[in-house]
């Protein structure tokens, strides 16, 4: 062990457990008014998990309804509201804030060797903006629901008699929550790095969060103005999206996807970051092609601004725009492919621990391969003309969003759970849950690929009978998937009661987050850290810390 970073057992040996960020102060206000990034991260974690479970329940309702061709449960209007709620909750309230808000907040300052994020008050504000946005979205359900789909395409969103203004303002707030989180992380990464932590010594999770933050800051305002304009349209008929008044619905799609395509990368880049961390720690091997990985994160961020039109290949944009957007779209495939290959190369000849975080990571690698490759199929212009707005697209983006991003989120959660709370969950149950989620997920969405290529359109409350068999398979898969998630929620919550102590360095990480005491003290480090080694240098790993339990 030859590193200058703080030593694990820096605290004096006394009988009572050392002070950490969890037990340093008590009471409701010590949490609700906290400026500590770790506590804000925990609050985000609770919030986004609740949103995920709510979104998951909506998803199960959707799948159950589609058991029969004429729809089993709901009226069409209710069905439309439920799939809209599923989309809106999952996209805006869960996926976008999930990883940056919870794990990013928790881990990023630790990895940088900072005492906190640069703007702690803004951090708390963005959490409360998230709460406000979620509240408005929930209020919209009470006000009668909204059935526009999460994309709010004009002019339907302008004409429907439902609570679009409420959800629109909710999304405006959620957008600013996201902007402030990103802004905070950019400033933190630039200004609060520990001495010696150069740009190319930063863990890749930091790179990924940094690239994400660029997108959050630069793309989200356009979503903000778009939902505001939709609200104005409904309030006083500006007419710019309303074809009755000379407006152009395609302009709405441009505005919307200018944000929402980068948003896909706002969602997926942090997932890439988590996976990059996990493959190296659990293979105990430096990340393959570190610099190329860092640059490809930035490249994805930049290119993602140039490709939004591929959501509009059938929407009536010009041939020139289709040409340009299809051409640019294929360029995103390159850095993404580089990432996938580099992860596999990192695992190659590693020392691969098959613990639950690694199992989730392997599941991610397989599922993301499918999600990414089907994306290439959709990028081809004429193939997309057939597959657009079918279940093929639905399956593709679920492979990316649910299969990849949520799995990466679970992987990260399992990875940093012992760091956050100093306790371990039941590994056996975790492995079972991972298997259930993996099997259930594929069973849900592989039939959807087939259905989609045969022409089953998306957002259908009822369907022609020939697709019934595929829908059955899909619904059964969704139930398996749901039971896997339920099991995961169970053992994670149970671990909080059982309190089996984790190790100081549970998995053998060598980045700064694993070199501070577990759980971290209030200002993260007993002594200000400085970095002298290259990133992911496993020759510096202190094996004793892997066997020292948390006191």
């Amino acid at each position: 062990m030859s590193t200058n970073v703080p030593v694990i057992d820096a605290h004096p040996t006394i009988s009572e457990p050392p002070k950490n960020y969890l037990n340093c102060s008590r009471g409701f206000m010590s949490w609700a008014g906290t400026l500590d990034h770790k506590r804000i991260g925990i609050m985000y974690l609770i919030g986004v998990s609740a949103a995920f479970l709510a979104g998951g329940v909506f998803a199960l309702l959707v799948r159950l309804h589609l058991w029969e061709p004429h729809g089993m449960l709901f009226t069409n209007e209710t069905y439309n509201q439920i799939f809209t709620l599923h989309g809106a909750f999952m996209v805006f309230i869960f996926v976008i804030p999930a990883i940056p808000g919870s794990l990013g907040n928790m881990v990023l300052p630790l990895m940088l060797g900072a005492k906190d994020v640069a703007l702690p008050r803004l951090n708390l504000l963005s959490f409360y903006l998230w709460c406000g946005g979620t509240l408005l979205a929930t209020l919209a359900i009470v006000l009668g629901g909204f059935d526009t789909g999460w994309t709010f395409y004009a002019p339907y969103s302008l004409y429907t008699d439902q609570a679009v203004v409420s959800i629109g303002l909710g999304i405006f707030l959620l957008g600013f929550s996201s902007i402030f989180t990103g802004l905070n992380f950019i400033v933190t990464t630039h200004k609060l790095r520990a001495p010696g932590l150069t740009w190319f010594r930063m863990p890749l999770f930091v790179w990924a969060i940094y690239a994400t933050a660029i997108l959050q800051v630069l793309a989200t305002p356009v979503l903000g103005i778009t939902v505001l304009l939709v609200a104005f349209e409904r309030l006083y008929n500006i007419g710019i999206f309303d074809p009755r008044l000379g407006g152009d619905p395609v302009l709405f799609e441009h505005f919307f996807w200018f944000y929402s395509h980068p948003a896909v990368y706002i969602m997926v880049l942090p997932a890439f970051g988590i996976i990059s961390e996990l493959v190296t720690v659990h293979s105990r091997k430096p990340l393959f092609g570190y610099k190329l990985m860092a640059f490809s994160a930035l490249a994805i961020a930049i290119i993602s601004f140039l490709v939004w039109g591929h959501h509009m290949f059938t929407s009536g944009q010009s041939t020139f725009a289709m040409f340009a957007f299809s051409f640019l779209t294929f360029f995103v495939a390159i850095p993404t492919a580089i990432k996938e290959f580099s992860w596999v190369a990192t695992i190659w000849k590693g020392s691969i621990a098959l613990n639950s975080p690694m199992l989730y990571t392997l599941a991610f690698l397989i599922i993301f391969a499918i999600g990414g490759l089907t994306g290439v199929i959709l990028g081809a212009l004429n193939v997309d003309l057939h597959l657009h707005d079918t279940y093929f697209v639905v399956a593709h983006f679920h492979y990316v969003m649910m299969g990849s991003i949520a799995l990466a989120f679970f992987a990260g959660l399992h990875h940093w759970w012992p760091k956050m709370f100093g306790i371990m969950y039941d590994e056996t149950l975790a492995k079972i849950a991972c298997a259930l989620i993996f099997i259930g997920f594929n069973a849900t969405f592989i039939p959807q690929f087939i259905m989609g290529s045969q022409g089953m359109p998306r957002r259908y409350a009822t369907y022609v009978p020939e697709f019934e068999g595929y829908h059955h398979a899909s619904t059964i898969g969704a139930v398996i998937l749901g039971s896997g998630v339920a099991l995961m929620v169970y053992y994670l919550l149970a671990s909080l009661l059982i309190r089996k102590p984790a190790m100081q360095n549970q998995w053998g990480g060598v980045t700064l987050d694993w070199l501070t005491p577990t759980p971290p003290p209030l200002e993260n480090f007993a002594t200000p850290p400085s970095v002298t080694t290259e990133v992911y240098d496993y020759s510096t790993l202190d094996y004793e810390s892997l066997r020292t339990p948390v006191r």
């Binding site: 390159i334 997309d384 003309l385 009822t462």
Partner: protein
């Protein structure tokens, strides 16, 4: 505040009598039924194979590593500490780049072929009008339109000019591999060249509201001889009973989405009890309507129904929620068909 949430079992909420499903080939794909097949499916299979190849490579490498390099003791270091390999990284940047550029060029070529309408197709132009939630098809050189069903001639390129009167819809015939969003306020065109006779699905692929999934039309590809008989223009109203029967099939195609005949609440008012039979004559019911903002009571009669079909906003039923819901107008519906619908309404009374 809340509309009815749970589906009424009495209202089976799906498409009546859809086209027969097309046969699926060994790849799980649709059969070759139109010229556009070559544009789409060649590239589709190419990308499919490329993707399967890469997937197998990735999966194989993963499984091999996991089996071979599994950590056996808790403090086992990695078998190798290689951090990068520049030639390898260059290769896996360049090779995918070349492959995707091939895909792009191929895709764009196919897309141009599918969007640039050839001369032959533009001489055989239909108009497809999409409304919430039905389709109206107007034929080249033929006055009578058809609703939710369309007949086209086999082996003759055809163009559809699509128009929407309300929100976004999309014209999607899976077996013909064509899809185009229909943006209100302008025409979008779609063309294809059907090469086999049969019945096929036409879906709305862009979300358009409550009954998006019921916005279905059946495409009949028929031989030139059959097409010459104008099968969409058959309307049997030789007797009131036959007219009612024709009216019923039109109802199922066009009106059932919003109007029930058994009293079930729906988007529009039910047709049950519009007429009652008294002896040999049918008497229309009394109904409160709003005309020009004022409430009045009218008797349902043929003139009122004709007006309601063609100008539905003229007299609105003064009863929630029908006073707020808007019905789409059908100015294209001719006298004979409206008469058929009325006969059908009357037959409902007779059946009771």
């Amino acid at each position: 505040m809340f509309a009815q949430l749970i589906q009424d079992p009495a209202k089976i909420n799906y498409v009546e009598n859809p086209a027969k499903p097309p046969e699926i080939d060994a790849w799980g794909q649709l059969p070759k039924l139109a010229s556009t097949f070559d544009h789409v499916d060649g590239l589709f299979y190419f990308t499919y194979i490329v993707c399967i190849f890469f997937f197998v490579v990735i999966l194989g490498a993963l499984l091999f590593s996991v089996v071979k390099y599994r950590r056996k003791t808790w403090d086992q270091p990695a078998a190798s500490n290689v951090t990068h390999n520049t030639p390898l990284e260059v290769v896996w940047t360049i090779v995918p780049l070349i492959i995707v550029m091939i895909m792009f060029a191929w895709g764009f070529k196919g897309c141009m072929d599918m969007t640039v309408v050839p001369e032959a197709a533009s001489r055989n132009t239909y108009k497809a009008t999409a409304k919430q939630w039905n389709w109206t098809f107007t034929y080249p050189n033929h006055a009578t339109p058809s609703f939710n069903e369309v007949w086209i001639e086999v082996n003759k390129p055809v163009q559809f000019l699509c128009e929407s009167t309300d929100v976004l819809h999309a014209f999607f015939i899976p077996v013909m591999r064509v899809k185009r969003d229909i943006v209100p306020g302008r025409f979008q065109s779609v063309w294809f060249h059907p090469i086999e006779i049969g019945e096929f699905h036409l879906f709305c692929a862009e979300y358009c509201g409550d009954d998006h999934s019921r916005m279905y039309a059946k495409v009949h590809v028929v031989s030139a001889e059959e097409f010459a008989t104008a099968p969409w223009d058959k309307w049997d109203d030789t007797t009131p009973a036959l007219a009612a029967k024709s009216g019923e099939s039109l109802y199922k195609n066009l009106c059932q989405t919003c109007h029930s005949v058994n009293g079930t609440p729906a988007v529009g008012p039910t047709w049950k009890g519009l007429f009652t039979k008294q002896g040999d004559t049918f008497v229309g019911r009394q109904r409160e309507v709003i005309e020009g903002g004022a409430k009045k009571t009218i008797t349902v009669d043929e003139a009122y129904i004709t007006e309601s079909v063609r100008k539905p906003d003229q007299k609105k039923v003064a009863e929630s929620p029908y006073d707020k819901n808007n019905m789409t107008a059908f100015p294209d519906l001719d006298e004979r068909r409206i008469k058929g619908l009325i006969e059908y309404m009357k037959s409902l009374a007779a059946a009771q």
